[in-house]
Symmetry: C2
Subunit: 359 residues, 2 copies
């Protein structure tokens, strides 16, 4: 119990305690007010509940003591963490750089900060990541590493109370809110480009088919080629991973084994396409003279491959922003049924890896 100092001239003006981290309590003690007053004075929403004079004093003391708010503690009390999880399959895939920037930009102003985790397409790693994120009470998870068989795991996460949205790699049947982009359409555009150049024997180098976008690209491409009455040379197996190495391997096998080799290849992403271009060179063929190549994503290196890659642009930054916004929306309205958001239409970027078929 402190004695009132209603009569004294100068108030005691306590010295800050040394050592210990400076908390709201310390500020209160030095400023001679109750902790709740400090809390209010420093809360932008509530600062005008406090008298001008006291507020100024509190602010001054806070600054002087070097007070830093403790977001974890205030978050606990408020029931929020202002945190979310971004799960990517592979940070090495160049589209996740702009994607992640898009997310952070959408989040930036509102004080959310993302945990970023890389699942490496490993089921048990993913499981650990999701559990960890849930236990840290992230307010939402932006999942870009989904394979079709992960639906159950993701729905369980949602059931446990953490909203999950999917982007880039969605799971259409799951009912999870998603940021979509029209990969069927994108692949169709690629096919039309090649058909328009006069190709009649086309093939595709497919990515892992348990990943939605690759599956859609397969469909879009096949359907369009067949609709035009051209020949779709059947490929052997899809690439197990969307890596340069697998692109090289699968392309080599595909171009070597085939009788009546295709004159044009739709390679389902840029990373695979880099491997494909290399394979073509290694086989002693020339691109685009012997075989044309279309990639997908228009990542940062597409303009700089040899030859520069014709590819379908997917604006990963934009998709990331959309994902960030969608995540915020679902945080605000957890029960709203959210329409899939579109990440913008795919557009073909023509460079030098495509040309007319050899005569």
């Amino acid at each position: 119990v402190t004695t009132t100092t209603a009569e004294g001239s100068d108030p005691p003006a306590p010295k800050p305690e040394p050592g210990a981290a400076v908390t709201i309590r310390e500020v209160a003690r030095v400023a001679q007010v109750h902790v709740s007053t400090v809390s209010r004075a420093l809360d932008p929403e509530k600062r005008d509940l406090i008298g001008e004079a006291t507020r100024q004093r509190v602010e001054e003391v806070a600054k002087e003591l070097g007070y830093r708010p403790h977001l974890v503690a205030s978050g606990l009390r408020r029931g929020q963490t202002r945190t979310l999880g971004v799960v990517v399959p592979d940070l090495g895939n160049p589209i996740f750089a702009p994607f992640t920037r898009g997310v952070t930009h959408a989040l930036g102003g509102v004080g959310y900060l993302p945990y970023v985790a890389d699942s490496q397409d490993d089921e048990v790693a993913l499981e650990r990541i999701l559990r960890d994120l849930a236990e840290r009470r992230v307010e939402a998870i932006i999942m870009t590493a989904a394979r079709l068989q992960d639906a159950e795991l993701l729905l369980a996460t949602v059931a446990s109370g953490v909203p999950v949205i999917t982007a880039v790699r969605t799971i259409p049947t799951s009912g999870l809110p998603s940021v979509d982009h029209d990969d069927v359409g994108g692949a169709a555009v690629a096919a039309e480009h090649l058909l328009g150049l006069g190709h009649v024997r086309l093939g595709q180098i497919r990515g892992p088919q348990d990943v939605e976008p690759f599956r859609s690209r397969t469909i879009g491409f096949s359907r369009t080629v067949q609709a035009h009455g051209a020949t779709l040379v059947p490929d052997a197996v899809p690439a197990p991973r969307a890596s340069v190495e697998d692109g090289h391997r699968i392309t080599t096998r595909f171009l070597r084994r085939t009788r009546g080799r295709p004159t044009a290849l739709f390679v389902q992403n840029d990373t695979l396409a880099i491997g494909a271009l290399q394979a073509i060179r290694d086989l002693g063929l020339r691109c685009p003279n012997d075989v044309s190549v279309v990639g997908y994503n228009d990542g940062p290196f597409a303009p700089h491959t040899d030859p520069p890659l014709t590819t379908v642009r997917l604006d990963a930054y934009e998709v990331g922003q959309a994902a960030g916004r969608l995540a915020l929306a679902i945080i605000e309205e957890p029960d709203a049924t959210l329409e899939p958001v579109s990440g913008g239409p795919p557009v073909l970027v023509v460079r030098s890896s495509t040309g007319p078929p050899p005569s």
Copy 2:
């Protein structure tokens, strides 16, 4: 006040309360034990303080109710967040993918999860990021986005109580713990390679000189060239950013303006080198016939440029791991003076972008 049920036969076996999130308290209520008993039963460190029978019951109830520990709350109590910040200058730079993986792997087993933030080399963005990380009470910050002029800001962060370590981009004068790699040596190796091929007029395309590694590379290269009595063709300005575009622009200007053009170029990172190769082509020159190029980093695209890039390998994964370990070390021993850790020696990877000078 609950009445004791000491005489009844079957214990009441309370039903879980619906709705509300299931906490340790709820588990305790259902399992008919005190919350602290639950806390202990579920804590791997303390589980054997609890009787076999009760522990099993608690575990069972916890599982049945779908109890998830609340890491934020327990962290608040324990005074830790098991969280750290990784600040990168640009996620688009391909070395930060393996770097970040290295960090997470070093951290994985011990339950730390990183926030990842991208400063885009923007001073005010960086300031915001550091403040935010500090207020979230990350236990350490791994800073890879440091420019020399950021020393003060970083030291202020340290003073505010959050340990900061630097990696990739260090600030030698700052005294911050760091993961170093020998860029002077790496550049020297590059120079020796070119000199060994017989080049006598060499130049370099420099990255931003307020960033330590670029500065060291400048020194290592110049020094070695001069020591061998060869001519170092002075360049105009360093690239303001380490981007493909700047690499192209600076290289174009450099090769065009120079009388007595150099026959070999040390380009201070792979991204710039991609631009440089492009510029060489655009000028109608051939690489390596007219001009040889050595890059730096050996990023994922180095084998796939045209021609494949001779470059100095920096093992970013390894550096990331070292940074993770260093961060853990400083978390455990905040006051230890930590020796700079080395991220492994630079090694030259010879591909096809270098050859003897034209005769």
